[in-house]
């Protein structure tokens, strides 16, 4: 792994306040093309991406998304496509689906950071209200928004860590001792 990749991983932050500066279609396409390379369980790719640039649609989404503090110029909504799940006999409870959402989200956020953009995930929203606003097909389940934009000059700080942790606190080597 190159230093550039490691530096990108280490320096990315969740951004909760964004400026009015626009994001270009080319930048969004670069991010979405990167997301296409995110790992997917069984390579089944059940995620579909919906990009929302329209200002009024973004405003309405934000009103039903209490966790969306950002006024982002672009939103990417990660949806699970139930047609793909049915086709491959994947039950909604299959944890591989959550893992796919996670790998796609992280890939999107790293790609955004890599081209100088800020990002922030949002899962606190009413799925049913989002369905209505976006006219989502019944087979699409809206799982996560990623706000894409530019970090505001004066930005809301991220939530303080519950306690300071290092990678060592999160890692156990080899077998646990017998009980």
């Amino acid at each position: 792994m190159s230093d550039a990749v490691l530096n990108n991983i280490r320096s990315r932050r969740v951004v909760r306040e964004m400026s009015d500066a626009p994001v270009s279609r080319e930048q969004l396409e670069t991010i979405l093309e990167a997301a296409r390379w995110a790992p997917s369980g069984g390579n089944l790719r059940p995620i579909r991406y919906i990009v929302i640039e329209d200002a009024e649609t973004r405003r309405l989404i934000r009103l039903v998304a209490p966790g969306m503090f950002q006024h982002a110029p672009a939103l990417i909504l990660l949806c699970l496509n139930e047609e793909v799940m049915i086709e491959h006999s994947l039950p909604p409870s299959d944890r591989a689906l959550l893992i796919d959402i996670g790998t796609a989200a992280q890939t999107i956020m790293l790609a955004a950071h890599g081209i100088g953009l800020a990002s922030g995930p949002v899962t606190s929203y009413s799925k049913e209200a989002v369905r209505v606003i976006l006219n989502l097909p019944d087979s699409y389940s809206p799982e996560m928004f990623i706000c894409i934009g530019h970090k505001a000059e004066s930005t809301r700080r991220g939530m303080k860590a519950w306690k300071k942790i290092t990678w060592r606190d999160l890692t156990h080597w080899e077998r646990f001792p017998p009980p």
């Binding site: 209490p66 209200a129 303080k160």
Partner: protein
Amino acid sequence: MNENWVLKEDEAVELLALLITSARIQLDEPAHYGPLRLLTASERLSGMILERASGKSRDFLQANVERIPELHMRMSDVDAYAAGLDALCREVAECLLRHSSLEEKT
């Protein structure tokens, strides 16, 4: 009693959207997110009515807009979070007194 309208219908509907969707998503979220949603609603309501509010409330509302986002970030420090909320509660009580007839009697 100040009888001036300070909230527009569109703003009220936006606030309703926040409150109703917060009630739903709270079923799926950690309990301590509940106060956060209420504070978000308080911040937005303060911002909505700030310009049309009377002098009795304006400083309090302005402080809410500025300080509530900071308060969110203290959630991981329960004591500091509680202290910040207590300070807000004292200020809201002072604002209530400014709007009541009690202050005029003393």
